[in-house]
């Protein structure tokens, strides 16, 4: 695309694309060249100085110098070598090479490897300590200033990639070091424990505590032995080649006992992939790499540190059978025989429709596929649903109606490239942390604009250019009013609409009543803000809308989702890069579990069950007749239990008892089942109602694939053997089929994927071979393996290739009687996942966020005499809970916020939510809950510890600011040219 220039590198002619960084080119050509601080993701940081080259006689950095015509580049001339060695010498003044007894000696230590590459034998500047204590305050990682080489990679990721803006380097003090919030302990700082600093640290200065004393053969020795040993090495002064040789032998030994397995995160829909390092059953650390297609080196606290649940002593390790008032451990044979007997009898007596199946959005595609196959083939029931019913069904519905695919229209790259991002009813810094970092980065570095519409002023709202605070449940109105205003102003894409969208005139009719005045009245948003929003969309080079449960969990979340698609169609924001619709899928496999047909009206591959031809294909493959009538949703299943029509349920990997709305009612209904099977990792509340509990293996203990919010399919590999008698879900489901007399004979999940590919056209080209390692595919995938990261570039997914304006109307929120005077918002916090069954097994996470609480606005606190830590009782028409308060301006007026991470009868949020659901998909209107508040005790302990990052203030700056290092009086430049302001 750009012009080629001729350069000489070490005497040889090369043709290179102009503007390529020298270091990038050298690495591309696999020419070894020293470098410590540089990374493809972060760009040239320019602190380590080890990549110096001689360019046309001048000493310059390979990382920040772009290739130009006629350059004569010498990478290892005498002068270049001398500069590189000098740079390394300065690094070693800051870093003691005790590699053999260092936990970072795993073959990937950049300082070690670069020193070795430079053939360093001795150093001229002796090592000296910096005079600071090691900071061990944080539960998950530590900082050792005395080993820190001040490369600033940690600061770069914290400031400009994670954009949490906690870390800086104080270049001006006598002895510079990395600081947290300008000098607080790590634990008391604004650090959100994403762990990226530890991931990118090129040595052992920042390390995961789980690695300390565990990774090496000799690293667990106590300090009073280690220090003398290090002293001995110093006193004896062998040359470094000897040190390196010994440490490499030790590193090679480690490789034998530390397994590194690629996996995909299970804590949200972003789909981060990384290696998990294990030693026996112990998880040493999570190591993301630049190869990960979605997250690169990024993670959040859960993905990086939240895996304790896998080795929890509360794991189920054997099947359990209810006998009297206790569960009795059983063999697999006993449990499976009982299930086949009971469910088989019910099927024979009442037919398949008396059985219900609930699949999980956390299990793999293969697990999900088999679950629907079990329901439809073995038990001949279409009563199969999954927990996306509780969250994302309305978004899918809105997109299916308008553009034709129920999924994100592009990838995280498109979100990054958008000129404007609008977030509606979602809190991605906490719910989808790594995805949020890309928006924060684009805003901070590349001028992306951000509008946030939410009840709560969360971090993204704080950072936004425009924060909209509409009345609860009224998003449909302002979104539609803006579409109308844009058309009225002539800012719409007339040609795009004409060529690509149906029902425009009908849509114009619908718009008529959605004037700015009407919107202002219904939503409470001032007209000026609405006009400003419209103008920003008009001026942006590409608009992406991200939305979540704040939209979907309402009585007409599906309508609002369709309204969002309408707005994007009006402005031509589908089918181009840097634009589109992004419903943020909450769990790791919400997208996949729906794609796999664990839905009452859909067959695998998003094929309608009502379509005779499509159904026939499956009937042939399964050798049974499949009813054309869609089955029951989760919600309808429970209703059918109440009516006595549904006799038995088989549920996999969901804590329905706490996750469905109106828990009291759900508990009552579950106890009415004739027979109930629950398959899970823990004895959840739901499992406590079961007749048979089957122990399942979590993601780290199985092979399979997940499909993330982008529609990206990624493989996970078994990192650990299943604990005890627990088994992968696909294995369990296959056994049930077998005991029912149907032999599937899958030996590996890859065979299940082959079957999926043969039946679901959007998966046609998907195979385990194509998903090897870090490779991934974004569906639809054609037979030849071509995938489609960006949808709708040529056609929308309808027979005529055109999109449709949705013509649905606004449905106002549920009315409550006056005594329930407070709006109860609810959702996630960063630290925990879902109801908390997994993350509440992590000591470190519980330390940072021990319990749920209710956020109360300062105004309301004053009015009701409530303080931080007061104990209050919240009561809705459906139930009551008791919890402590946090007074914060994240919420305003009469709006409260309660996190959902509780499995306690005291304070689980769904004891308060009601049973009314979305008009099209029945997704419960969790967000439309009103309560009254009674103060039980004013004085009490703060539920949120003071060392939780929410209390701290961030310290934003651009990158590590190497210019300040260069400005130091004692800095002697190595390069002849120091170029400031080089960013990536």
């Amino acid at each position: 695309m750009s012009e080629l220039v001729k350069v000489k590198i070490n005497g040889a002619e090369h043709e290179v694309e102009k503007g390529t960084r020298i270091l990038d080119y050298l690495l591309q050509q696999e020419m070894e060249h020293p470098h410590v601080c540089y990374s493809e993701v972060l760009g040239p940081i320019q602190t380590c100085d080890t990549c110096m080259c001689e360019i046309d006689g001048k000493i310059m950095r390979a990382c920040s110098t772009e290739i130009e015509e006629g350059m004569n580049i010498l990478t290892s001339s005498e002068r270049a070598k001398a500069s590189q060695t000098e740079a390394m010498d300065r690094i070693l003044e800051n870093h003691l090479l005790y590699c053999t007894v260092c936990d970072n000696n795993n073959g990937n230590c950049r300082v070690h490897n670069t020193a070795e590459l430079l053939e360093i034998e001795h150093q001229t500047r002796p090592f000296r300590e910096k005079g600071y204590e090691v900071d061990m305050s944080h539960p998950f990682y530590r900082y050792d200033p005395n080993q820190c080489i001040l490369c600033g990679r940690c600061v770069e990721v914290c400031q400009d990639l994670q954009v949490n803006e906690t870390l800086t380097i104080d270049w001006e003090r006598q002895m510079p070091r990395v600081l947290w919030d300008n000098g607080k302990s790590i634990n008391e700082s604004s650090c959100v424990s994403c762990g990226q600093c530890a991931t990118v640290c090129p040595c052992n200065a920042l390390m995961e505590k789980s690695m300390l004393g565990e990774a090496g053969f000799m690293t667990s020795m106590p300090d009073d032995l280690l220090t003398p040993m290090v002293d001995l090495i110093k006193a004896v002064e062998p040359d470094y080649k000897t040190i390196f040789a010994v440490s490499e032998v030790e590193a090679a030994m480690r490789e034998n006992r530390i397994e590194k397995t690629k996996t995909v995160c299970t804590f949200c829909g972003v789909g981060c992939s990384f290696e998990v390092w294990t030693k026996g059953r112990e998880i040493l650390k999570i190591e993301p790499t630049e190869n990960s297609p979605v997250n690169s080196v990024s993670t959040c606290v859960k993905g990086k540190f939240g895996w304790d649940f896998v080795n929890s002593d509360q794991r189920l390790t054997t099947p359990l059978i209810r006998k009297g008032d206790e569960f009795v451990p059983s063999t697999w044979g006993e449990a499976l025989t009982l299930i086949a007997d009971k469910m088989g009898t019910i099927k024979q007596t009442y037919g398949g429709s008396a059985l219900g199946f609930v699949s999980s959005s956390k299990t793999t595609n293969e697990d999900s596929y088999l679950m629907q196959k079990l329901a439809r083939q073995v038990f001949e029931s279409n009563n199969i649903d999954n927990c996306s019913r509780y969250c994302q069904s309305p978004a899918t519905d809105g997109l299916l109606a308008t553009v034709g695919y129920g999924g994100d229209s592009g990838t995280i790259k498109d979100i990054e490239k958008s000129g404007l991002v609008i977030i509606v009813g979602a809190n991605p810094t906490e719910g989808h942390p790594v995805l949020a970092t890309r928006v924060k980065r684009a805003k901070k570095l590349f001028g992306q604009k951000l509008i946030v519409s939410d009840l709560r002023k969360h971090e993204m709202a704080e950072r936004s250019d425009l924060f909209l605070h509409p009345k609860q449940g009224t998003d449909f109105v302002w979104i539609t009013a803006i579409a109308k205003y844009i058309i009225d102003q002539g800012w719409h894409d007339e040609k795009y609409i004409e060529q690509r969208v149906n029902q425009y005139s009908e849509y114009l009719n619908l718009l008529e009543k959605y004037t700015l005045e009407y919107a202002e009245e219904v939503t409470g948003l001032p007209k000026e803000q609405l006009i400003e929003t419209a103008r920003m969309i008009h001026e942006a080079d590409g608009t992406s809308v991200l939305w979540g449960m704040g939209v979907t969990q309402n009585v007409a979340g599906s309508h609002t989702s369709a309204a969002i698609a309408n707005l994007l169609l009006v402005t031509g924001n589908f089918g181009r890069t840097g634009a589109g619709a992004y419903p943020l899928r909450g769990h790791n496999n919400v997208q996949g579990s729906c794609d796999m047909g664990t839905l009452p009206q859909w067959l695998p591959g998003n094929q309608r069950i009502t379509d005779d031809k499509l159904r026939e294909k499956f009937e042939q493959a399964y050798g049974v007749e499949i009813a054309s009538q869609p089955g029951l949703t989760n919600i309808e299943m429970l209703q059918a239990v109440e009516k006595g029509e549904l006799k038995a349920m088989y549920l996999m990997g969901e804590d329905m008892a706490w996750v469905d709305s109106n828990s009291n009612h759900v508990h009552e209904t579950l106890s009415k089942l004739d027979f109930f099977v629950v398959q899970d990792v823990f004895l959840t509340k739901t499992a406590q109602f079961a007749d048979v509990v089957l122990p399942a293996a979590p993601s780290l203990e199985k092979d399979g694939t997940f499909t993330n919010t982008e529609r990206r399919i990624q493989r996970l590999y078994r990192a650990l053997d299943p604990l005890g008698e627990s088994k992968p879900d696909w294995w369990i489901i296959q056994q049930i089929a077998k005991y029912m007399g149907v032999n599937w004979n899958y030996e590996h999940p890859s065979e299940i994927m082959d079957e999926i590919a043969s039946l679901a056209p959007i998966f046609a080209g998907v195979s385990y071979d194509r998903l090897e390692g870090w490779d991934s595919l974004v569906w639809p995938v054609q037979k030849d393996g071509t995938d489609e990261p960006l949808l709708y570039t040529e056609r929308f997914n309808f027979a005529d290739g055109k999109a449709n304006f949705s013509l649905v109307e606004y449905v106002p929120p549920i009315e409550f009687s006056h005594e329930f005077d407070l709006t109860l918002n609810n959702g996630r916090l960063l630290e925990h996942f879902h109801e908390g069954n997994m993350t509440n097994k992590s000591k470190g996470i519980l330390y940072k966020l021990p319990e749920v609480f209710v956020e109360v606005s300062p105004e309301l606190a004053q009015e009701r005499g409530v303080k931080d830590g007061s104990l209050v009782r919240l009561e809705s028409p459906y139930g009551a809970i008791k919890l402590r308060t946090v007074v914060t301006d994240r919420v305003q007026g009469k709006e409260l916020y309660v996190p959902m991470h509780s499995v306690s009868h005291e304070n689980a949020i769904n004891l308060l939510t009601g049973s009314v659901g979305d008009v099209r998909t029945q997704t419960p209107a969790y967000k439309q809950t009103k309560v009254k508040m009674e103060v039980i005790k004013v004085k009490g302990n703060r539920p949120l510890p003071l060392y939780n990052p929410r209390y701290a203030i961030r310290n934003p700056q651009l990158g590590v600011q190497v210019e300040r290092k260069w400005a130091r009086e004692d800095y002697e430049p190595i390069a002849d040219v120091n170029r400031t302001g080089v960013t990536n």
């Binding site: 106590p222 032995l225 054997t318 209810r322």
Partner: protein, 165 residues
């Protein structure tokens, strides 16, 4: 009516079953490697009878203490000096031309022999004898060598040591 229950009956038998299973695996392993194991048992018995095993066990049990003592000993300046001297000498030796060393050693041997002989005669040497000896080609060669050796050592002493570089 299925009430939620949290009580799980302890799988008492389970533990024994597990043990039996593990034992079965070990027995199988033993059978497959019978010869090697029999030899090893013999060796162990010998070691036990001679008390070596007990000593080794104690040493390993006290490994941290022992290591601390060993490292402590190694850290004493005489020892680190010795290690450093040894390493420096070893380093210097690697740079010498072996042929020259051979010549030098030969020369030394012969010189010592000759000196020994002359000493036996108990003869006094005067200035004149000294002048005469300097003209002797063998003595002259040795003198030239010694003078230049002195010059080399002097130059070596002038250079700053590694540590202060």
């Amino acid at each position: 009516m299925a009430k939620p229950i949290t009580k799980i009956k302890e799988p008492i038998l389970k533990e024994e079953e597990k043990q039996a299973e593990k034992l079965q695996g070990v027995i199988q392993n033993l059978a497959e490697n019978a010869d090697g194991i029999t030899e090893t048992i013999k060796l162990l018995q010998e070691l036990h009878e001679s008390g070596v095993l007990e000593a080794l066990n104690s040493l390993i049990e006290a490994k941290e203490k022992v290591a601390k003592i060993a490292v402590g000993q190694l850290l004493r300046p005489p020892v680190t000096n010795a290690i450093n001297n040894g390493m420096a000498a070893a380093g210097a030796l690697t740079e010498l031309d072996p042929e020259m060393t051979k010549k030098l050693v030969n020369g030394m041997m012969r010189g010592i022999q000759k000196a020994e002989q002359e000493l036996q005669t108990n003869k006094k040497i005067g200035i004149f004898d000294l002048m005469k000896l300097m003209k002797d080609t063998d003595v002259n060669r040795a003198l030239t060598f010694s003078l230049y050796l002195l010059q080399g050592i002097g130059a070596g002493l002038k250079e700053p040591s590694q540590e202060n570089k």
